[in-house]
């Protein structure tokens, strides 16, 4: 390394230190402490200088370390190898994944916490697959997807608490309601594309949330809805001591009572719902309507010139995407037994969009990987409390740096003339 290079990298690291100072100065340096009457600022410049020093040193080491490029290359070839493996053996990969998901609750290390995380990841996978229809296939950037999730959850909660209908009747109803709202959103945004569409859908998501907060008579406002019925195992409730004339799950199968039964049942429920979503999407992608969605994403004007009705095509995409969001919503409601507008904020939409985009638009396996990666990492760092969002952001940055088109970006044609050539 020449002297010039060293000076150059030294300058660069000093500049990095300047940026670090600007960031850490106010964030870390000025700490507010409440003493008695008011809030006082306690400066802690020592920590700031330590952090800035670390940044300068780190940057300098990175700069002079010429092996850096090589290391990064290894990482990116690894990641591209990984995606080529999963693409070649997509079927095997999928089957292994499903098998693993099926036996997961009975693995020795699986405990309550793992199950909860797995259920959460599966919920996001299902939402991601649902949104994939709208964003990945039809190319309509929907930033308000959580609205349909909310509609599904509230439909289930309201119907189940008011009429006492069972989960299995409420589930399709919730899907229908959500699909209806999908069409409702679809109409005004038919002419919009890109950024404008994103803004309007974002607004729609907020409108639904604000209605839920303010329509107190129906939705119980910010207090939310409590006492949502839990799902039963085909009529057998998961209760320690069933009501008169009822048999509960553990008595029927002669098992020791355990709260895990219900968790495992919920796990399989969301697994089945998610797999139905996946199967449906894979199927419909190969049908004319699926191809029309993708064609619409590619070029709307060309679609019109070929006689494809863009209105119907977009509305079906919105409706079907929303329907799966509604299913996931009613699952969420029955799992939590309590819902409030708090659960349906914009950050949820953002996470789902992030999962779809980072997974690789339109890729079903990509959604799974991105969900596990994003949600899993956020969970792993739960001990860091609010700083775990840094891990979330970090995960996003990593994917964007090494896989700018998403984890699995390759698209397979929906129909082949010459068959699979290997």
């Amino acid at each position: 390394m020449e002297k010039k290079d060293i000076i150059q990298s030294f300058k660069d690291s000093l500049f990095t230190g300047l940026i670090a100072l600007a960031l850490f100065g106010p964030i870390v340096g000025l700490r507010t402490v409440s003493k008695g009457e008011g809030l006082f600022i306690t400066p802690q410049w020592g920590v700031v200088f330590l952090l800035v020093g670390l940044c300068i040193l780190g940057r300098f080491l990175i700069n002079i370390n010429s092996a850096r490029r090589k290391e990064f290359k290894i990482f990116s070839t690894l990641s591209s190898k990984f995606s080529s493996i999963t693409e070649d053996k997509a079927k095997h990969f999928a089957i292994t994944g499903i098998l693993f998901a099926v036996v997961f609750p009975f693995l020795p290390f699986t405990d309550r916490y793992f199950m909860d995380v797995a259920i959460m990841i599966l919920t996001y996978i299902m939402l991601g697959w649902g949104l994939n229809i709208v964003v990945g296939l039809a190319g309509l950037l929907d930033l308000g997807y959580v609205a349909f999730y909310a509609v599904g959850a509230y439909s289930y909660a309201l119907i189940a608490t008011t009429f006492g209908w069972s989960f299995w009747i409420c589930l399709p109803l919730a899907g229908v309601f959500a699909a209806f709202f999908g069409i409702l959103l679809g109409f005004p945004v038919l002419r919009l594309r890109g950024d404008y569409l994103a803004i309007v859908t974002l607004g729609f998501g907020e409108i639904i949330r604000i209605i839920l907060i303010n329509w107190y008579e129906v939705t119980n406002g910010p207090d939310g809805i409590t006492g949502i019925p839990r799902p039963s195992f085909f009529g057998l409730p998961f209760k320690r001591s069933p009501d008169e004339g009822e048999t509960s799950f553990h008595l029927f199968f002669n098992l020791e009572y355990s709260t895990m039964h219900r968790i495992i049942f919920l796990y399989y429920l969301i697994l089945v719902l998610a797999l139905i979503t996946n199967y449906f999407t894979l199927k419909i992608r190969k049908l004319p309507v699926g191809r029309a969605w993708e064609a619409l994403r590619e070029d709307e004007i060309a679609c019109k010139s070929l006689g494809v009705n863009p209105t119907n095509t977009k509305l079906t995409a919105f409706a079907i995407g929303a329907m799966f969001g509604g299913f996931a919503g009613s699952f969420f409601a029955t799992r939590q037994a309590f819902i409030s507008p708090e659960s349906f904020t914009f950050i949820e939409s953002a996470i789902i969009v992030a999962i779809v985009v980072l997974g690789g638009m339109g890729s079903q396996t990509g959604v799974v990987l991105a969900s596990i990666f994003l949600i899993g990492i956020t969970e792993m760092f739960r001990d860091l409390e609010q700083f775990r969002m840094i891990a979330f952001g970090g995960a996003m940055v990593l994917i964007m740096v090494f896989k700018p088109k998403g984890i699995l970006a390759n698209r397979k044609p929906t129909i082949l003339m010459h068959g699979d050539k290997k």
Binding site: I284, E298, D299, I301, A302, S305, L306, P413, M417, H418
Partner: protein, 263 residues
């Protein structure tokens, strides 16, 4: 030969700008009618009016069927292709680049396949009626791909094809909707002489074998003069000449306005 399309007193104004001024012409069945003229003469605007992308300020456009005639004004955007069976291609190619060549041709058969799939219901149930229809659609695609010699690339992405092949693919994609009138907007732009000779062959084939009327906008005179049965010359939105290719070549107005004089 019978009339296929008659344009009557077509006028299109964008605010104060008159892009097309009182234009009337006819196009006949099984003929290639070319529209030529300098840049900005309003050629593409005529196409956009015909294919429903613009609503003309004034005037009528009729498509003749055996005895009846339908007014194209009544149909807007996708219905022009769906109901009136007028297909078009674009000046800057508009394929679906991330979809395969075969898929491009299947999207063009969307409406028939949609009905065959029972609006997706039969398709989801994987009924035989739908599978058979899909096979027919693939056969039709193969027929056209054989003609332009791209069958071996059917499963590749359309965006990966060379430019000339993309042009041809766009034309046969438009043919997959079985149009009665095919409007081609500068199909020879950017093609080398060999490719434009192939294009001529393809257009002649469509004209004679498929009984489709062709409306052509083109700057490449080797294409225009080689295959046109009828030429309409526009300048500043007005028709300045109409006649056969030979008449056009020798017309004083056309030479002055557009073709220019050989040094």
């Amino acid at each position: 030969m019978s009339n296929l399309l008659s344009v009557e007193n077509l006028t299109m104004k964008f605010g104060g700008l008159t892009a097309i001024d009182d234009l009337s012409f006819d196009a006949k069945n099984n003929q290639i009618t070319s529209i030529i003229g300098p840049n900005g003469a309003g050629k593409t605007t005529v196409f956009n009016c015909l294919t429903g992308f613009y609503k003309p300020t004034n005037g009528q456009m009729f498509l003749h069927k055996e005895d009846s005639k339908i007014s194209l004004r009544k149909y807007t955007d996708f219905k022009i292709a769906y109901v009136a069976k007028v297909a078009r291609t674009f000046q800057n190619i508009r394929l679906f680049p991330a979809m395969s060549v075969l898929e491009n041709l299947l999207v063009a058969q969307h409406n028939e396949l949609m009905v065959a799939s029972g609006y997706s219901l039969f398709g989801l149930l994987n009924l035989k009626t739908y599978r058979d229809k899909e096979k027919l659609a693939v056969d039709k695609a193969r027929y056209w791909l054989d003609i332009i010699g791209l069958t071996h690339r059917a499963d590749d992405n359309a965006g990966d094809l060379p430019y000339g092949d993309q042009r041809k693919l766009e034309i046969v994609r438009a043919m997959c909707i079985e149009p009665r009138l095919l409007c081609l907007d500068e199909p020879a732009a950017g093609l080398n002489p060999k490719e434009s000779a192939e294009l001529n062959k393809l257009l002649k084939f469509i004209k004679t074998e498929k009984q489709t009327g062709i409306l052509l906008i083109e700057h490449d005179m080797s294409v225009v003069m080689g295959i046109s049965d009828h030429v309409v010359v526009l300048n500043y939105g007005k028709k300045i000449f109409e006649g056969t290719a030979d008449q056009t070549k020798n017309s004083k107005e056309v030479i002055e306005a557009y073709l220019g004089v050989d040094e």
